[in-house]
Amino acid sequence: MAEPASFRVSGKGRLGSKGANFTFDGASYQGVEGDTLASALLANGVHLVGRSFKYHRPRGILSAGAEEPNALVNIERDPSRKVPNVRATVQEIYPGLKAVSQNRWPSLAYDVGEVNNIASPMFSAGFYYKTFMWPKKAWEKFYEPKIRAAAGLGVAPDLPDPDHYSQRFAHCDVLVLGGGAAGIAAATAAAESGARVILCDEQADLGGALRFEAGAMVENKPAWDWAQEAIAKLAANDRVRVLPRTTAFGYYAQNFVALAERVTDHLASPNPGLPRERLWQVRAGRVVIATGAIERHMVFADNDRPGIMLASAARTYLNHYGVSVGRKVGVFTANDSAYQAAIDLKKAGTEIAAIVDIRPASEGDAVQQARALGIEVLSGHAVVKTGGRLRVSSMAVRSVNVGAERVIPVDALLMSAGWTPSVHLFSQSRGRVAFDEASQRFLPGTYAQACVSVGASNGTDRLEATLEEAYAAGEKAAKETTGGTKSAARPAGVSGEAFAGGMLGTTPGAENGTTVAAFVDFQNDVTAKDIRLAVREGMHSIEHVKRFTTNGMATDQGKTSNMHGLAIAAEVLGKDIPSVGLTTFRAPYTPVTFGTIVGHAKGELFDPTRRTPIHPWAEAQGAAFEDVGQWKRAWYFPRAGEDMHRAVDRECKTVRETAGLFDASTLGKIEVVGPDAAKFMEILYTNPWEKLEVGRCRYGIMLREDGFIYDDGVVGRLASDRFHVTTTTGGAPRVMNHMEDYLQTEFPDLKVWLTSITEQWAVIAVQGPNSRKIIEPLVEGIDISDAAMPHMSVREGRICGVPTRLFRMSFTGERGFEVNVPADYGQAVWEALWAEGQKYGACAYGTESMHVLRAEKGYIIVGQETDGTVSPYDAGLDWAIGKKKRDFVGIRGLKRSDLVADGRKQLVGLRTKNPRTVLEEGAQIVANPREPVPMTMLGHVTSSYWSENCGHSIALALLQNGRKRMGQTLWVPMPDGAIEVEVTGTVFFDPEGGRLNG
């Protein structure tokens, strides 16, 4: 395959002479710095670069830009940097670049998958929907795995992405999308009028269509030179940011536009400090859309052979990259722009086999110029098929009416069906496109945002008009946003080309009724025949046609195919194009890497990690940690040789025999302060608070209006106007929001101030018979005797010399304290308590033991025993509802008929018949384990543990009519047999509760 670089045309193109060697499928080639992979391959005579998605047909390079549907390759920088589906027309080469073709095995030239092409009549539109329906079970086991293995183009990278990606917010007065003639003019005008401007373009070199429009002149010099000078001037202006290699891919509300900048993909050895890509999130006062137009291919039989490409692409390869795409080039066109390509090639010494023009008689300037150069022009003719396998070798031409076919040998075939304005970003801005009958194209219609389209994307064809429009738009946008009055000087001496006209749909030979493979969508292998079939099978909306055929659904989003598909559907439906409709344009305009979207929010930076002040101590002790929301919590503290179960058994025993220390700092804490604090608490919690004495605590339940439990926690009254409220660890932010909501919007007259104090206080629970003895030597100024400070009381004083809010409370059923100290002293106080605890053989215990100890006492955990559908009655917490209260959140919900009905699930205990069997949390409970599936499910296990203190397993469950089932035998069916259980009360240990009081 590797020929010498003989397609480079001396004297043509704008690249330098610095060589860059690269490989494609293992073969070495030479390119020139500034080449894209596509131009470098073409310079080496390589057209075959890929295999098509469905039929594995040999495919070449169609375009010279972002719209490329065919030339998708894998770029392998190193083992962890393999990027699939890179468009060869966008990827710039660098020395050592390694590209590999896709979707072929064993090689590009000999691909076993090509059998699909021979069998292609089988794979018509809707093939998958129709074929893999039967037998039903085969889908999961056979069809889906096979199809998944065969489907897809590139191969996803198999190692973590080692690159980093950055994200920036930016603001400007005027954002210009697209750096062609229109964009450059708009940006220049806006900048000269005093605006802050951002100009972005997807190409490495700005200039847009001027890359190929060789004849265009501005200020009496080649328009390309004018453009480069203008860009240099813009880049030197510190109020202007010029972003090459940057694609505007998403246009969101209020002129918020997302740009993806490719920073290092074109560099041989990027500075590791640079991000691979950068996401710009720009908020612009005004947006100028100058996104140009995309040339359409002709839809005829076998229009997809390598070597068949857009005329403008061939012209770009010649005029910009200095590459001739063939030696003997045919042209098939429906508009004048392809003539310019033929003329440029002819002048550069390439033979033009013939220009086949579908129009009956075309006698424009370009046509006459072509004739004058001795090019054969066949007006009123069509290419009806092509020859060649891995590269086009001939075109068969006949009159559009009838007549004999004439086969003309070619090694490349250029085509142009006209130009489609790129209204993608305009449409994403929620502007409405309107169909222009005269030019048969969709143009920006009704605007939804402060933006304006200019140039080819606005349907403005001539360069003179484009520049005038763009200058006016840039100037106006600047004046509107800055209030300035300066005007920008307009360039003189402008002349250019205009590319109006063309056709939509199929050409003669591929019309309705034919069965040829005339491709509409190259990337998804959709032919004109497929679209007609879809319409015949009842898809009358273009949205249905699109989904049934997958036309326009590939990663190129139908940039070349949408209009053809629409026209073909409209023809079969017998409707005009606007009444068939246009499919919706969605972000992203071109594929964007996950890395760019994710930015730095990965790994450790994906989500904040919260650690308590006592975390370092627990870590030093070798604690195992578990994630609870964003918190790291000590799970258990294993000693040498202990597994989790042994550690938890020991911790639970130790707490009840002597004492244990537990880090409860993650508890949510809110201070409710103000003259109306008690009144506010009455509203937010079910319990009565007005009469709670200062210095006492109460277990509070918070409901939603529907009567279901929302949160719970112990609340201490520090003063008549000050409550220290605790919430669940995970519930703290939502409880705070809930409280603020009621305070601000329903009870704004209450004089209350809410403060989150979760992170201000470290909390050390000291639990167990010896807990008082442990804290006693360290506490100052508080009488902690049982008489002075009974269970459920709170005092302020000092411990270890620092302020404390000392709670006498228990989540274990033992005598216990919760020592609140300012967070900065958390670890010091913990260590002091730990030293005291050592005298009594106390242990540190983690969240697992905390769970077991509270379950032994039947204390619920909101979110474990409750799931948002559990009322206080269901949970056995009727006692916590103030019966005399006239109002609290949830009071009406509790009276709802469903909540007071019989048959609700109620919290009960379960004991397994075999005391050693530990049930699985979440397991279902049934009355008759022999009932055929689906069984009648009575409830489920919410908590289940081995209790070393009880000597048997314990479980809590929500069970239908649970409290009426005490003593009943029920079953918990499991895969290896049903487990027999007995319904019990929820308190398994010390049911009298004597230990609480010491």
């Binding site: 009704t446 939804a448 509107e480 209030g483 909501d741």
Partner: protein, 142 residues
Amino acid sequence: MLLIRCPYCEEERPELEFRNGGQAHIARSTDIVQESAEAFERFFFIRDNPKGVIFERWRHIHGCGRFFNAVRDTITDKFHHTYKAGEPQPDLNELIAANEDRRMDEGRGDMPADQGPGSWANVPPDQINVAEPAADASKGDA
């Protein structure tokens, strides 16, 4: 990302600072315990889901922390108006009429936030910044 004007901070801030709080102007009864089942159902369970203008609550949770109300078009995401909690529900027709009368100031610095880019939804580009927009300019497709 939307820009939302906080009526307490009196400026537009990015959406990241806010949290949506559901439909606005649903008052909790002062005697809720006596509400009928139907009234309670309307109060707690039934919400509008319009294609068009919605009155909704937002909280400037990562800013001043205040709840406020907004009038937003669910089709265009355009905010017609934001106002403090407790203020009466504005009349939609008056609001739209008032928006039509507004003009953009010359200076950027003192451009009222509700006349920023978002307030120009559905205005054709040639009528943006025209002192007297055409009579039907702002009707749009909402």
